[in-house]
């Protein structure tokens, strides 16, 4: 199972890297983007990953800041998922730039009135904070691994301890442990506004665009946060169902996570319907993005993806199959797929409505088309880069001390998914 997983993911990653070379050689001409629909699939996946990251991180603060002890075993997993997701987000925004080689202009030529410029600062601070927090959570385990393990894992642990040594005597060890915990708590507290800024701010990138009535709402950044929480809970539910040690706590942890997921889905549904109802009663016109979502070009993606996979299916599963870990993991997966539709539906339909009447007919040039469907290369590169993120995540889980997930002597219950052999 494990071999098949690595084979598939490895092949997808290799394919993705091949397409990445195409992308870097030919520029954005490889996409189906146009001057009328300048943001497409890659921007949608970028906000997807930012949402996963913020959601997973906020879930980890429930544990380390608000002391939700029952979920402690998913704490590090959430943090790692948050870190990898944010790197994924940065990767997708990078490949979407017309001049990726100039990305650091964001620092050297920073612009105070641009939400995007602020976001970039947020992302950097946020990555450092998350990595620091994970390190403090792991340093004792890393130290132990550096003493006991050989091979790659041992070497990696020795490098990553950065010279940290766990005191030999128990009292001193307890003291350093105490200190690490309080540092983690401080970082978690600082991370709260940061994570909210990271994703709420990403929502604000869209929300402030007065020219796009679909985005231009004060509710937009808040919708982003809530859907981020839902997607983060879904990701961790799915990952823990797949990787968690099958012991007495396994199912109860999953049930708690799934419960949180449903709570966030409900809040998300509330905000979404609030937005749409206001538009419906205002008498929405057929060329508005909302109309296209509810009844038009994006209706299948909206009702099937966003509502079906993202809301109804996970809720039904959690309601009626709550005693099956596999079903709960499936609910998480369904939600993860649904959120892809949510993100796509945030970005692309906003371009449906021409800025001026007749603008869609003024230029007969495919690069001015108002209809955008991702091209094969765009979709392929997306799958390849996501595979690369999954690969990075899997390798990190294997190489770093994630003992709380280790199967150890647990009962074999690994029917579906990969068995991570972190403890072997």
């Amino acid at each position: 199972m494990r071999r098949i997983f690595y084979l598939v993911i490895g092949l997808l990653t290799a394919g993705g890297l091949g397409l990445l070379i195409q992308r870097l050689t030919w520029g954005l001409a490889v996409t189906r983007l146009t001057s009328a629909v300048p943001w497409g699939l890659w921007i949608a996946i970028y906000i997807y990953f930012v949402g996963l990251s913020a959601g997973s991180f906020l879930l980890s603060t429930l544990i380390y800041v608000f002391g939700l002890k029952q979920l402690e075993r998913v704490g590090r997993l959430s943090l790692l998922a948050a870190i990898v997701s944010l790197f994924g987000a940065m990767l997708f925004v990078l490949i979407d730039l017309g001049h990726p080689e100039r990305a650091l202009q964001m620092i050297f030529s920073w612009h105070v009135t641009s939400v995007m410029a602020w976001e970039f600062l947020f992302y950097i601070a946020y990555i450092f904070l998350m990595v620091a927090e994970l390190w403090y959570l792991m340093r004792d385990d890393l130290y132990r691994a550096s003493q006991t393990e050989g091979g790659i894992r041992g070497t990696l642990a020795r490098v990553l301890t950065f010279g940290y040594r766990q005191p030999a005597d128990a009292a001193a060890a307890a003291a350093t442990d105490q200190k690490a915990h309080s540092i983690v708590k401080v970082l978690g507290i600082l991370g709260l506004p940061l994570a909210i800024g990271v994703h709420g701010g990403t929502g604000a990138i869209f929300g402030v665009v007065a020219a796009r009535p679909y985005w231009n709402s004060g509710l937009f950044p808040i919708l982003f946060i809530v859907s981020a929480l839902a997607s983060g809970a879904a990701l961790i539910t799915f990952l823990f169902a797949l990787l968690g040690r099958r012991d007495g706590e396994y199912l109860s942890i999953l049930q708690r996570l799934a419960g949180l997921m449903i709570l966030f889905i409900s809040l998300d549904a509330l905000l979404l319907s609030a937005e749409f109802l206001v538009h419906l009663y205002r008498g929405m016109e057929s060329h508005s993005a909302q109309y296209q979502l509810l009844f038009g070009r994006y209706a299948l993606l909206f009702w099937g993806g966003e509502v079906g996979f993202g809301m109804v299916l996970p809720t039904l599963i959690v309601a009626f199959r709550r005693n099956s870990a596999a079903w709960l993991g499936g609910a998480g997966l369904s939600m993860l797929l649904g959120i892809v539709a949510v993100r796509f539906n945030i970005v692309v339909p906003a371009y449906w409505e021409p800025m001026l009447k007749g603008l869609d007919r003024a230029v007969t040039d495919p690069r001015f088309s108002f209809l955008y469907t991702p091209g094969v290369l765009e979709a392929g590169l997306t799958i390849g880069m996501i595979a690369m993120m999954v690969l990075a995540f899997a390798l990190a889980v294997e190489a770093l001390p994630f003992y709380e997930l280790a199967p150890g002597q647990s009962k074999a219950g690994v029917k579906s998914g990969i068995k991570v052999t972190a403890g072997l």
Binding site: G27, W39, H99, R102, T113, K357
Partner: protein
């Protein structure tokens, strides 16, 4: 500077009565009937007048100029000469258009009319595009033109998204003449340098302006050489006017006092510097 005979003839048709004491433009007021054409060969071509206005404006420091365009929709025939002159002048590739001519049909047969609206960049007073740029690559110049620093622009396309007039486009690095009749190399006229911003830039793969946001600059590079924008000089109906609004003697300053003056999406609060007359 001498007026061409065609120009004189057209000016005879055009010749809007720039009467002193014309009523101030009132937003939402019904459009005034077109003024009676003033016949007579004494009238000079508006292009000649604008050329003199331009020469006067260039003698002033740059921050005392305020470039403005006025487009008289009653005179526009929808020929798209302006659009094509712009494409040629700025060597625009597929996907990049600085000036479009919007068309709309009004009424039903036999009471039908086609309505044309040329849309260059509005060079807004408060541009939505410049404030969202994460790297300060696009900015408002002291003379009012919204410019892009091609070397700074990272190609994120936030400005393309934010412009309420759809006046920005993205350069995908493509050509009209590749993959045509077995031809893989673009025709030389597509790769010749463009002189935007006074910099001669050829088209080389992945190099600016490819991968950048692009927009109308009121032909800044031509202005600096004492030439009117390409769309102005090619307008067969003499419907497009250009000049320095800070100069009370200029043609555009006179036109700004006409009745029936309006701006696109006034409610957006962007303060466009392109005015329409109808």
């Amino acid at each position: 500077m001498k007026a061409g005979t065609i120009g004189v003839a057209l000016a005879a048709v055009l010749g809007p009565t720039l009467a002193e004491g014309a009523p101030a433009p009132v937003k939402g007021a019904p459009a005034a009937p077109p003024p009676l054409p003033r016949l007579g060969v004494a009238e000079e071509d508006t292009i000649v007048r604008m050329q003199r206005d331009l020469e006067r404006a260039l003698k002033k420091p740059v921050d005392q100029r305020r470039w403005v365009m006025v487009i008289d929709l009653r005179m526009c025939t929808g020929c798209t000469a302006c659009l094509n002159a712009c494409r040629a002048e700025n060597v625009l590739p597929p996907g990049v258009v600085y000036r479009v001519v919007l068309e709309e049909e009004q009424g039903a047969y036999p009471n039908v009319r086609r309505f044309f609206l040329p849309r260059p960049c509005m060079q807004c007073e408060k541009p939505a595009c410049t404030q969202v740029c994460p790297v300060s690559a696009t900015y408002k110049r002291p003379d009012g033109i919204v410019a892009i620093d091609y070397e700074k622009c990272i190609g994120c396309r936030y400005c393309v998204t934010a412009c309420p007039y759809g006046a920005r486009s993205f350069d995908f690095g493509e050509y009209f003449t590749t993959n045509v009749a077995g031809q893989n190399q673009p025709q030389p006229y597509e790769t010749r340098p463009s002189f935007e911003y006074g910099q001669a830039r050829g088209r080389k793969p992945l190099q600016s302006p490819i991968g950048n946001a692009r927009k109308c600059t009121f032909c800044l590079h031509r202005l600096n050489q004492g030439m009117l924008p390409a769309c102005i000089t090619t307008c067969i109906g003499r419907a497009s006017f250009f000049g320095d609004a800070n100069d009370p003697a200029s043609l555009v300053a006179e036109l700004l006092g006409q009745a029936g003056l309006w701006r696109l999406k006034e409610e957006a609060g962007t303060g466009p510097q392109v005015y329409y007359l109808r």
